[in-house]
């Protein structure tokens, strides 16, 4: 969980920094730059799916709940 959150923040950092750089005209918008942002966001999406699969239904996730029977 902790590792996944770390990776999500890392990829968000890539996306945010690139978008801000293009908005502020520090770097010129380019196909390559947009691909970098999209790849980072795709990774965030994949990581969130992993988290979802590991989270119990009570937390809004898809992981099977624990069987209460011994």
């Amino acid at each position: 969980m902790r590792r996944t959150l770390h990776d999500i923040r890392n990829q968000l950092a890539v996306a945010v920094a690139n978008v801000e750089a293009m908005r502020d005209e520090v770097i010129a918008p380019s196909r390559e730059r947009f691909e970098t942002v999209l790849a980072a966001l795709a990774q965030v999406d994949g990581l969130l799916r992993q988290l979802n699969a590991l989270s119990p239904p009570a937390a809004g996730g898809d992981a099977p709940g624990l069987d209460p029977r011994p």
């Binding site: 923040r9 890539v14 750089a21 770097i27």
Partner: protein
């Protein structure tokens, strides 16, 4: 050491490219490293005025990079991390980081923090050591542990290097045998009777004419003195 040179250390090229451009736009020269070992090597080679250092790196972590840099000097270090737990913040600052930025961040915020720590450091003056000592044609690179005479690399033993470094730190000052021994024998590898032999061997490597030394002169009955013939 140039305060306008920044070492960026992160293993995410998509982030480094952007941070580098923001830094360059603000007039900083930028050098980069993408793992722990190369960060330390790049620091020793480039001697930047500030380091922006990710905590999570291949090779060894940013905390280890920070510790190794701190063994050399007090250059300002800003830690970047995607771990936001309080414990990480405390660990980074207790190890000697000057500031801390959590991911995701605005690149402008990082630039602003770099400027801020530089202002603080320049007001208080960095305690970074000078990398090179120069006496006439002899240049001693303390960090690289190298000595050049008229630009040519000469090979010294660790003890010879220590003796030369001590003498070059006190140009014009006579050091007694006891003072020299005290400064170079922290590991007990030089004895009084071998000091003269080490000096003779050192002269053979750095003096143009070892039998008539110009740099490392004997002060009879007292010890040795380094002089700058230029």
């Amino acid at each position: 050491m140039s305060s306008r040179k920044v070492l960026l250390v992160d293993d995410e090229p998509g982030l480094m490219d952007v941070l580098e451009q923001f830094m360059r736009d603000e007039g900083f020269a930028v050098v980069r490293a993408d793992d722990g070992p190369s960060a330390v090597e790049t620091f020793k080679r480039e001697l930047p005025g500030v380091v922006v250092l990710d905590l999570n790196l291949p090779g060894f972590p940013g905390t280890e990079v920070l510790r190794r840099i701190r063994e050399i000097c007090d250059v300002p270090i800003i830690m970047l991390t995607a771990r936001v737990a309080e414990v990480d913040r405390v660990v980074g600052l207790e190890l000697g980081a000057d500031d801390y930025v959590g991911k995701p961040f605005s690149p402008r915020e990082v630039v602003a923090r770099v400027k801020s720590v530089l202002r603080r450091t320049e007001r208080g003056e960095s305690s970074a050591p000078s990398r090179e000592k120069r006496v006439g044609a002899i240049a001693i690179d303390v960090l690289a542990h190298e000595v050049r005479v008229e630009g040519k690399l000469v090979t010294l033993t660790p003890t010879q290097f220590k003796i030369l470094d001590v003498l070059a730190s006190h140009v014009g000052q006579t050091l007694t045998r006891d003072q020299l021994l005290e400064r170079v024998t922290s590991d007990g590898d030089v004895f009084d009777r071998t000091l003269d032999r080490h000096i003779a061997n050192l002269r053979a490597r750095v003096e143009p004419n070892p039998s008539n030394p110009r740099y490392i002169v004997t002060v009879f009955g007292v010890g040795y003195k380094m002089v700058d013939p230029s």
